[in-house]
Each structure stands twice: as structure tokens, then as C-alpha cells.
């Protein structure tokens, strides 16, 4: 018998635990010729905002040892064009659609979420809290626990959909930040976004990326993300969607063992578009070879206890 890969993220039921990370899968149809949709637990869209955003000047990408730094600058078509032009074809994929969104200001978050909730065919929202907060000198919304809590609560008040909150990978404050999201009412956390990073062109004596700074993703991030998921899942009872350098089924199993419920694959899809199907297949083989009938039996196994119940707040 095939081992079961179904997982639940709060109220959201997924047939596999693997989904693309926001910003690496466009608006869903770019990869449809290559990747069989059956392997996808969900599709997570590129982050959208109330108004279109042109993005940063090129170059926007820089490969570094063990990773990729991107400075896309949250380029997106804006909510109107998304709802009219992108959502209809997304719905036809037959996979739960998780729409990632962000605001330029705090109050744009609930405004954007409210409009998304009125549209048909969206399974859940993912609030991207890693974008710079202009009023606070560009510090990410997600860097401040009280802001995270306020935004999460404001979104939950208007949004009738399950809410994932995606946080920056701040290894020293992740617990407070994650608590902010949980107290605000997040149904799940996505841990974590890219790590702020840069490259310098020593000949031209300026940053190599057009946007100056960017976010690091890829294999270099995996051990950091792993420890973040470990730390949060040890202390808080909330489903975690792990994201950070996952390239293989064994990477995925590591994240499940430290407590993740589901997984996002991002940069690895660029290295090999067949990464997600490979990870899903590899998870089945891993479970089968070891006699597990379902993935959830491995979840959080490293903590000594399984965490199948989903509650809110700190663990006793």
C-alpha cells in the first residue's frame, strides 16, 4: 500500500505536503507543462499587493556559493490584474491555491486580504511579512513581534480563509515573532523567507545587484531554517510549513522530523524543475522502506513526542 502523504494545515487539507515557495512558481501556469499537478499539495502564488509593483532594476539575481541572492523587488501585477487575469487559469489546475500577498503599509494587509477572500477558488492566504516596512526605515514587518501580531489579527478579522504567515529567518528572535503570529490568529506559519544578503562588485565599487541588497535562498539556508523550525515547533503548537534549501526527500524528512507539517520547495526548482515530483516520490519510498504508513508518524519525532494535535499558544 502507498504510504499516506496527506497533511492538514489547520483547516486546510493537502494531498501531499509539498508545495512551491511563493515567488518561485509565478502565478501557477508557468510550470504546468513540466510538473504534474498531482504531486503538488498546493500552489503558492507570487506575492501580490493592492497596487502593481514594477520591481527592482536588473541585475536581480546573483548566484553565490551554496545559494542564490535575489532582488526582484516584489514585482507583481497587482490584485486587480491577478483576480481577472491570473486566478481563472490557476483555478483550473485543480490544486488548492494559496495566494501570497503583502502590503506596503500595515493597513494594506487586511485590505488586500479582504478582496482576496471575496474571490472564488482561493483555498488559503499566505501573508508575506518579510517585505520592508517603509515607515520603520525599511525594517521587515516580520521582524517585530507586535507588528506581526497586529497584522495577523487585522487580516484574520476580515479574512474567512485559512491564513499562513510567512516570517523572516531571524534566528535570534524567531520565537517572539512566531508567537506574535500565533497570538494574532495564524492558522499556520511558513518558516522562513529569504535571508537579507548582498554582493559587492569590487571593480565598480558598488553592489552587484540592481536593488543593492537582496534575499539569500537555497542550500546554504537549510541548516538555519531547520533550527528555526525545530525551535518554533518545540515551543509553539501551530502547524509549520518549512521552507529553506529543500532539494531532496532527505532534506524534506529532516524538516518533518524537527516538526514541520508541510514543505515548500523554491530555489531547487530552478536548479531542476522536477525537484517537487522527485521529493514527493522520495518521501513515499522513504516511508515504505521503513514501514511507515503515513508521513505524520515522523512529524516532530526528534522532540520525542509526536505532535498531531493542533492547538494554539505555548506548549506547557
Amino acid at each position: 500500500m502507498e504510504p499516506g502523504l496527506e497533511v492538514k494545515l489547520g483547516p486546510l487539507q493537502l494531498r501531499t505536503p509539498v508545495m512551491p515557495a511563493s515567488g518561485t512558481f509565478g502565478y501557477g501556469d508557468e510550470y504546468k507543462d513540466l510538473i504534474p499537478v498531482e504531486v503538488l499539495g498546493a500552489v503558492v502564488t507570487k506575492s501580490i499587493s493592492l497596487t502593481p509593483s514594477p520591481g527592482n532594476p536588473p541585475p536581480r539575481l546573483w548566484e553565490v556559493e551554496g545559494g542564490l541572492i535575489n532582488s526582484i523587488g516584489l514585482q507583481n501585477v497587482g490584485i486587480d490584474a491577478f483576480l481577472e487575469g491570473k486566478l481563472p487559469s490557476l483555478r483550473e489546475l485543480g490544486v488548492p491555491i494559496i495566494v501570497s500577498f503583502f502590503g506596503m503599509t500595515e493597513d494594506e494587509y487586511p485590505r488586500c486580504a479582504e478582496r482576496l477572500c471575496r474571490a472564488e477558488g482561493i483555498a488559503a492566504l499566505e501573508a508575506n511579512l518579510s517585505c520592508p516596512h517603509v515607515k520603520r526605515g525599511g525594517m521587515a514587518f516580520g521582524a517585530q513581534p507586535e507588528v506581526v501580531q497586529r497584522i495577523t489579527r487585522a487580516v484574520k478579522e476580515v479574512a474567512g480563509l485559512p491564513l499562513l504567515v510567512k516570517l523572516p529567518p531571524d534566528p535570534f528572535h524567531i520565537l517572539e515573532i512566531a508567537e506574535g503570529a500565533v497570538y494574532g490568529g495564524a492558522d499556520a506559519l511558513t518558516l522562513a523567507n529569504t535571508l537579507p544578503a548582498m554582493v559587492v562588485d569590487i571593480e565598480r565599487q558598488k553592489p552587484s545587484l540592481g536593488g543593492g541588497v537582496g534575499g539569500l535562498s537555497g542550500p546554504a539556508l537549510k541548516p538555519v531554517a531547520l533550527r528555526i523550525v525545530y525551535e518554533v515547533s518545540r515551543k509553539l503548537q501551530v502547524p509549520i510549513v518549512a521552507s529553506g534549501g529543500i532539494r531532496s526527500a532527505s532534506d524534506a524528512v529532516e524538516f518533518i522530523m524537527v516538526g514541520a507539517t508541510a514543505l515548500q520547495v523554491g530555489t531547487a526548482t530552478f536548479a531542476d524543475p522536477m525537484t517537487i515530483p522527485r521529493v514527493v516520490e522520495g518521501l513515499k519510498t522513504f516511508l515504505k522502506d521503513r514501514g511507515y504508513d503515513r508521513l505524520q508518524k515522523l512529524q516532530g519525532i526528534i522532540h520525542g513526542t509526536r505532535m498531531e494535535s493542533v492547538g494554539r499558544g505555548r506548549k506547557g
Binding site: 518561485t24 508557468e30 536588473p58 548566484e63 545559494g67 542564490l68 526582484i72 530555489t267
Partner: protein
């Protein structure tokens, strides 16, 4: 679009270029000149975008120069290596109008996408004039020149050192042309060459198309990484290009 593997069957050094011939694991149903592939660069995270140089159902070849870590890793892969690839990607060159004359302007390795286009157009009976500029005569190896001439392509060369053809830049050749009939120009080369060529062709009522390159990750329009500035905002080289209309780029500060 196909995600497959290719096996390196033959590697040749042609002057300053590397020619890499690969056999495909899965058949390539259709592709056109100007489209590109993403090719695995062993030891690197991202695949590298390379113009299709020649292609058929079971094979593809690339003409490239070493530009960094990725292209160096590709070129140093031994024959028999299997590399992941995704192809064909992007939009190729749009065809010329009925009876149009065709001018191709290549700078150095910019010949890579223009070579199959010149061959395809000649086969269709188009009159094709190739202007090709580079540093010196070693940049025009016979294995590239001979098949073009045999196909009936008219070739004018320019070299910086004057070792063959006109001494100077390829755009000097372009500046010396007179255009009697309706003409389409296809360009590929360094941005300085492209900008100068577009300047020369401006106001001459000539349609222009340019193949661009940019650092790339997904190759399919999903990551928004390979943006270039155009008159109508940022466009993606992988999805909107790599071939762009000249007037989109003119004065856009690309």
C-alpha cells in the same frame, strides 16, 4: 517545453568558441531559431541560458564562450556527461515579411542564435546579408563561415585589428548600407553594439529585432529574475524575449 537530459557527444574548439553537441534523452518536437535552453552547469546551483545553435528531433548544439563559473563548468564537462536541460524556451525570431530583405548583425558570439536563423531563412529563399564583427580573424572559423556561404548568405566581416574584412566595428558596416527595399534587421551582440545599431537603423523604416541576455533562474517566467528595462516597463528575457522589437528597447536605458 521539455525537461530532459542531454549527453555530450562531441566538443569542438572553434577559434574562441566552444561547440557542444548533445544527444537528447527525449525528442524535441519543435523549436525555432532564437529560442534557448537552460543547461545544467555541474557544481553550480542554477542552470545557464544558452541560445540554440543547431537542433533537431534528437539533438541540440550550443556555441558558447566561457563567461564565468557556469559556462566554464559546462565547457569542461567531458564527452559522455549527462546534463539536465529545459528547452525550448522563450520566443524565437519572428519571420520577415514576404519579399523583405534580411540583414543580420552579429557581435562576436552573438552569432549563436543568428546562425540557425540565417540558415533557415536562406533555405526559405530569403536574401540574407550577415554583418559580423569581432576582435580579429580567429573569430570567424571556417566551420561557421563555410556553411553560411554554401547556403547563399552574403557575409561582410569587420575586425577591430583589421586582420580580416573592414577594420572597425560591425556597426560601421551597418552604417555603410543603403536600404532600397523593405528590410528586417535581426541583432545579437554586446549591448553597446545593439544600442549603436538601433540608433543607425532608427528612422530608416526598418523593422528590428534583438536577442538579449540576462542572469536567469527559472527560464519560464515564474521568478521575474531576468528583467530588462523596455519602453513599456520591465520585461522578462525568458518569457517576453529573448527576442525583443528594437523600438521597445530604443532609449529605454537597457
Amino acid at each position: 517545453m521539455l525537461a530532459t537530459r542531454g549527453t555530450i557527444r562531441c566538443k569542438k574548439l572553434l577559434g574562441p568558441y566552444h561547440l557542444l553537441e548533445m544527444e537528447l534523452d527525449s525528442p524535441l518536437e519543435r523549436a525555432s531559431a532564437g529560442q534557448f535552453a537552460l543547461l545544467e552547469a555541474p557544481g553550480c546551483l542554477l542552470m545557464r541560458p544558452l541560445s540554440l545553435f543547431s537542433f533537431g528531433r534528437g539533438y541540440v548544439s550550443f556555441l558558447l564562450r566561457i563567461a564565468g563559473r557556469g559556462t566554464a563548468a559546462i565547457v569542461s564537462s567531458p564527452c559522455g556527461s549527462q546534463l539536465r536541460m529545459v528547452l525550448p524556451l522563450g520566443r524565437g525570431f519572428p519571420p520577415p515579411g514576404e519579399g523583405d530583405e534580411v540583414v543580420l548583425v552579429a557581435g562576436g558570439v552573438g552569432i549563436a542564435p543568428l546562425f540557425p536563423w540565417a540558415m533557415a531563412l536562406s533555405k526559405r529563399g530569403c536574401r540574407v546579408h550577415l554583418l559580423w564583427g569581432a576582435k580579429d580573424s580567429s573569430w570567424f572559423p571556417p566551420p561557421l563561415i563555410v556553411p553560411l556561404r554554401a547556403a547563399g548568405v552574403e557575409i561582410s566581416l569587420a575586425t577591430e585589428d583589421g586582420s580580416i574584412g573592414k577594420r572597425g566595428m560591425v556597426t560601421d558596416l551597418l552604417g555603410g548600407l543603403t536600404f532600397g527595399k523593405p528590410t528586417v534587421a535581426y541583432l545579437c551582440g554586446p549591448m553597446a553594439m545593439v544600442r549603436r545599431a538601433l540608433e543607425i537603423l532608427k528612422d530608416k523604416n526598418i523593422r528590428t529585432f534583438t536577442s538579449l541576455e540576462e542572469r536567469m533562474a527559472c527560464g519560464v517566467g515564474a521568478c521575474f529574475g531576468c528583467a530588462v528595462k523596455t519602453r513599456s516597463g520591465y520585461k522578462l528575457v525568458c518569457r517576453d524575449g529573448p527576442v525583443f522589437r528594437g523600438e521597445e528597447l530604443h532609449g529605454a536605458g537597457t
